[in-house]
Symmetry: C2
Amino acid sequence: MKTLVIISHPELEESGSQQFLVQAVDDLPDVTLHHLEGRYPDGKIDVKAEQALLRQYDRILFQFPFYWYSSPPLLKKWQDDVLTEHFAFGYRGDKLNGKDFGMVLVIGLPEKDYQTGGAEGFSISELTKPFQAMAKKVGMDYVKPLTIFQFPYKTEEEKMDLLIQYRQYLSMKNPDSLKSREEWLLKELDQTNLETLPEDQASFILEEVVELIEDNRMELDELRLHIDNYED
Amino acid sequence: MKTLVIISHPELEESGSQQFLVQAVDDLPDVTLHHLEGRYPDGKIDVKAEQALLRQYDRILFQFPFYWYSSPPLLKKWQDDVLTEHFAFGYRGDKLNGKDFGMVLVIGLPEKDYQTGGAEGFSISELTKPFQAMAKKVGMDYVKPLTIFQFPYKTEEEKMDLLIQYRQYLSMKNPDSLKSREEWLLKELDQTNLETLPEDQASFILEEVVELIEDNRMELDELRLHIDNYED
């Protein structure tokens, strides 16, 4: 699976969270990071080049800071310019059909604020409706967004956890499924020489393996319970 | 009530609907139209000037074509640049508190497409959540948007109706209340010399008066029914 990450951030170099994410995936061969403000500093988007790029990938992601509950202006301009009729929708506008669409949202406030009655008053599922509608319109499969709340307050362990989640989000077909996570982890382990890794990373990968085995056991236990019920 | 209409449209001169709207209100003394792309052709927004402008008005409206279920890029940039902490939210960020916020949305597809199961799949109420959240955050009162679907297909009579709705939306405190509409119409009639108007406009205003009287009668009838029920 080939993944294109369209990053929009007016000051990418200044953003700790974005720098962390960029470095987290620089070894993944099937992932391309595409920073719009870096590529188009004058704001003039090369529509043909962007459309040609989109065709090469199976999963298209938007990655941006969730300012005012939406994308930075250049990503909106990209939508308006690149997702044209006859390319993305309308007659023969099927060029994005069947691809995955997802988002990596960097959010400054805590998750609990995003609900009815919370400080922000609306959930992320509500606030991202315009992007859900876009995915529907162009025939893409909407993948649950990866939301990153209050990055600067994260502990080292939380950051490591985020790193794994992010790598999975960019390279796994179904990041929520246990089977996919298992396959992904076995592949990662196969490519990794634990002895050459810094100790904290090695132990972290081992923790992930343990967690996965535990999840597997829970699922097996649950299945066994179901079978017992049927036999009664 | 003083109203500021912040218009965002990359090609205002080319838009029939926007030209119609601009001309519909050029005689209203308490309404200011503020076209962002015209004012800032290089995209660099004068934040202090914009914040000073906002303070002078009681109702702030965003008027734009609803491309990809959101605003054009320059209006998003305006939000990101102008609605700063300590001005619009946060400590002492109360400068917009209590003002009205509304939107005039120009939409290319028919209204029936915007619902669950419809071609677009989402309602306008769902797709405008990010703006509702913005209004909440800055303490503004969210006014039901004025939605204009498929302007080019409107008949002359529908356009006249839109003209009245739009003028009311820009100058009436509660555009939905019968009492407000009554007062507004009496004021308009007071200022208008019917004999100098083109015949179609004069007859249209008379139709509005008739409609208002009918609405009044219906409301009175309904009240009478309630009273009868109580007396039984």
